[in-house]
Symmetry: C2
Subunit: 298 residues, 2 copies
């Protein structure tokens, strides 16, 4: 059987069923970061993301923005767990025909965003490759009480997203702000039950929360914040690389968040029992069962 | 200027001159692992290595051995710092046309060697790619007193290598034993001054020790342990991917090691002052100045 037939998430499920870890691993594969034992008060977060020319960026994209994106997508994983990034390693596969100026721009893009979040670039690996490949792994930490996973959503929770959704392909995927500061603000001020970053589309990433939390959800078309670049609702529901956060909180916490009047945090629906599945209430008040799909590598 | 003109190590020097890190980074880029503050008694080790089809393995190689190698080369970096591997992440770029059986073999190769060294595979990333790409990052630790760097070689030190050198391309590069156990035996029983793994050839990796330690070296042709597969001395001096360890110790420690009669550890020369450069005494007793070269990606 070819991998394309199994699909990306089918393959991930298969991998997860095979891998065993020891008791120092609080959470292995299956969340935005691996969560590891560290000390009495903190966990260590460990995550990686690979970018490939022609898949995650175009050969003609600005190397500064490519470097920036490579770091930013892993920062977004640290944010999704409520954590603080500390160290990163970068493996780069690059053609010897590329210029030093190109490489320096790439590196500057990485270093500028790393510095902004006080993260140290501590090393890496260089390899010859026709296509540009960048793999970034980040080591971070999070206070035990602030760790956020996909599995904590509860029936009755309100679902929030940060920012706006859809149309990221036109520009935002290269320039998005990893929501580290927003995530830290949330974990320090509210009781958040679950969180994920929206990397493969709202519906697909919400479905990960539902699967891990064994819940269902209802979302409201009129509440979904479309970006200026989104062509339609479909785009906000299914297109990838928004890199916004999706989180769920109890109604009482939702009220507290609402009272703060922070425009960035927008309620879009609620968590319900698992047997409801995932439903959308459209602008006419009609209920639709949503098919779970989004960006998949295969 | 193209990267090919600057060369791999020229580029690395340039990168190192740009990157700044905070005081929690004991050693950033420029050694086998990044060394990070952890707790009172230990440092954390953090390293990565990228493998690309057509560069590091052939498309026709056994996927089990490709997976094994991907993990083993990073384990070798942990060994070179005297440490213990604990956790790894794996990013894989793979064609959707590959079969599930191929992927399972690849994963089995990774998991078998990870298990052997009690390392947890805690997650990763999957991406679509025409060529198979694997990037592994490992998190390990080492007792502060046992940390080994490239920079500790002292004038008068004896230079040792483990195992035999040369001809790795014929088979060993896919099946080598990462020298974790040997490195741990060494750091627990002797005072080792410096260590590196031989990934780009004996001469090139020894030259990294000399550069970081600001020293020179004399090595003896008759002492260099050629593997069965090595075609000649050149092969043992310059061909890459032996993944043996090279370490230096004082004469008194060298005697202690020698007395243990462990065949795996072989003296090949001595550390001298920097102005000697790197010299080889051949079997006729003639001294040759050695040109520093070895495997370079560009």
């Amino acid at each position: 059987m070819q991998l394309s037939k199994l699909g990306e998430f089918g393959l991930i499920r298969k991998i997860r069923s095979i891998i065993k870890t020891d008791s120092s691993v609080i959470k292995g594969s299956g969340d935005d970061c691996a969560v590891l034992r560290l000390d009495r008060a903190n966990y260590q977060l460990f995550c990686c993301d690979m970018l490939i020319e022609g898949v995650d960026f175009k050969p003609t994209d600005d190397p500064y923005l490519i470097g920036r994106k490579a770091i930013a997508i892993s920062l977004s994983d640290i944010a999704a767990c409520g954590g603080i990034p500390r160290y990163c390693l970068v493996s780069v596969g690059i053609s010897p025909k590329k210029t030093l100026v190109f490489f320096q721009d790439l590196l500057r893009g990485m270093l500028d965003i790393a510095k902004r979040y006080r993260m140290n670039l501590v090393g890496g690996d260089l390899t010859r490759s026709d296509k540009l490949i960048i793999d970034v792994s980040i080591l971070g930490k999070v206070e035990k009480k602030n760790l956020l996973l996909r599995s904590g959503a509860k029936t009755g929770d309100i679902i929030f997203v940060t920012g706006t959704l859809g149309g990221s392909i036109f520009r935002k995927h290269l320039e998005f702000i990893p929501r580290i500061k927003e995530a830290r603000f949330l974990v320090r001020n509210f009781k958040i039950n679950s969180m994920i970053d929206i990397s493969d589309g709202l519906v697909q990433d919400l479905s990960h929360i539902l699967e891990e939390s064994k819940r269902g959800a209802i979302i409201y078309e009129e509440l979904i914040p479309l970006s200026k670049e989104a062509r339609d609702l479909e785009d906000a529901l299914y297109s990838g690389e928004d890199f916004e956060l999706l989180f769920t909180v109890s109604i009482s916490e939702a009220k507290k968040i609402y009272r703060k009047k922070i425009k960035l945090f927008k309620p879009i629906g609620e968590i319900v029992d698992k047997n409801y599945g995932l439903r959308l209430i459209d602008k006419q008040g009609k209920t639709k069962i949503i098919k779970i799909k989004g960006f998949r590598h295969f």
